[in-house]
């Protein structure tokens, strides 16, 4: 399968990427690792007229501490997140989530910004960011705005990112000592989660339980009012709207959400 023709531009800096976006408008797409975009282009679900390659912009990559946050450049690859000692110490649930994405080859190419901008409701990193209560730094023609993970995802494969904007960095709280758990239920190696759960402190996020990654709000409220993990986990599917497919029907997904939430709140990974 071969993508439809497009023009290829290499951005020299974040500013250059923005000016190329301004020049080409909605016909342009940003390319980093290409591991969400290129598969879509190969099956012609996406046919951008211009690709703007931001993978070589050094300022968009890397992991650093800024005050009480860890700041991660948008083009930082999954393998770099998974192998980062800094991230493992400061936000271990995110390093762990990155290690669950796809397979080693995919983790050598795919980027955190690409995964978040793609906004797949069954993906690892959107769910992990939501559990962490992280935020996204979006650079546009009129400057930088910061959007919380709770407000970023608006539908399946849809976010608040505008066509003239660049997701430049991801911010997560420093919290190496905060208890966390992570559960990803799959039937096949390197698949997307049939249901996924990330827990961080009292926050619980779900994957594949609706059109966006979701907070398990009923579970979180119950925990806040002193319920046991077991009692709180029973509420994990409340307010969710999972779909059905050949992997699982709605009842089964709701059941998985409850079981996996309990395990995640117990600090288990798997």
């Amino acid at each position: 399968m071969i993508p439809a023709s497009f023009d290829y531009e290499v951005a020299e800096s974040a500013e250059h990427a923005l000016s190329l976006l301004a020049e080409h408008g909605e016909d342009a797409k940003l390319l980093a690792g290409g591991h969400s975009l290129l598969p879509m282009m190969k099956v012609r679900l996406a046919q951008p007229a211009v690709l703007i390659d931001i993978a070589r912009v050094a300022e968009l990559s890397g992991i650093r501490i800024e005050g009480d946050e860890v700041v991660i450049g948008a083009t930082t690859r999954h393998a770099e997140l998974a192998g980062s000692d800094l991230l493992k110490a400061e936000a271990p649930v995110l390093a762990y989530a990155a290690a669950q994405v796809g397979d080693p080859q995919i983790r050598h190419r795919g980027t955190i910004g690409g995964s978040l901008a793609h906004a797949d409701p069954s993906a690892d990193l959107p769910m992990a960011l939501l559990a962490l209560g992280g935020s996204l730094e979006i650079t546009g023609p009129s400057g930088v705005r910061v959007v919380g993970a709770d407000d970023f995802f608006v539908g399946p494969f849809e976010s608040v990112l505008g066509p003239d904007e660049l997701l430049s960095a991801v911010r997560v709280p420093r919290g190496g000592a905060v208890p966390w758990g992570y559960q990803k239920f799959v039937r096949r190696a390197n698949d997307w989660a049939i249901v996924g759960v990330a827990a961080y402190g009292g926050r619980v996020a779900l994957a594949s339980m609706g059109g966006t990654p979701l907070r398990a709000t009923a579970t979180e409220e119950a925990l806040k009012s002193g319920a046991s993990i077991e009692e709180a986990a029973r509420l994990a599917a409340e307010g969710t709207s999972p779909g059905y497919d050949f992997h699982a029907d709605v009842d089964y997904r709701e059941h998985l959400a409850r079981v996996l939430t309990k395990r995640a709140l117990e600090g288990k990974t798997g």
């Binding site: 993508p3 497009f6 390319l31 598969p39 390659d53 393998a79 397979d103 080693p104 080859q105 050598h108």
Partner: protein, 171 residues
């Protein structure tokens, strides 16, 4: 058309390519390097795995233009000029790590990358490290033994799995 300059199996290349040309097609059709195979064409099976700057990637999901200024190694590039195979290749032969052979170049490249990142993997780590590569003959047992054998060979000789030969591209 876009001009790309890159290193393939140790040799410098410069070519005009269409931006939409996939790396796997550049390697197979432009350069005539046929070790990497097109299997699923959907980033799943790993038959097209090559090394990009020493790291395993699925070349069906990389544009040739993304390899500009970078170094690509295919299975052909693991063989030394005098025909000596790499430790990983040799271990696959010794342990009969292949059946039909279609997945083998991808397995060898994934294993080469894995051993460069983790020179002493456990059996479990080898299995997880190869999760991006399918063997539809299901010959996984001997493949895993081959990678463990290669790790042993490399640690006894103290060499690295990514040692690249200076073989010129035969294209």
């Amino acid at each position: 058309m876009t001009q790309i300059k890159l290193t393939v199996n140790g040799g410098a290349r410069s070519d005009e390519v269409e931006p939409r040309l996939l790396l796997i097609h550049y390697l197979r059709e432009t350069l005539g390097l046929r070790a990497a195979n097109v299997g699923c064409d959907t980033t799943s099976c790993g038959a097209c795995t090559v090394l990009l700057d020493g790291e395993s990637v699925k070349s069906c999901t990389v544009l040739a233009v993304q390899a500009n200024d970078r170094s690509v190694t295919t299975t052909e590039g693991l063989v030394a000029e005098d025909g000596t195979m790499s430790a990983v290749q040799e271990a696959f032969r010794e342990n009969h790590g292949l059946q039909c052979g279609f997945c083998t170049p991808g397995m060898v490249m994934a294993a080469t990358s894995l051993l460069a990142e983790n020179p002493h993997p456990t059996e479990q780590e080898v299995r997880e490290g190869l999760e991006g590569n399918f063997c539809r003959c299901t010959g996984y047992h001997n493949i895993v033994q081959s990678v463990l054998g290669a790790a042993e060979k490399l640690s006894s000789t103290g060499s690295s799995a990514t040692a690249e030969s200076s073989t010129e591209v035969n294209a």
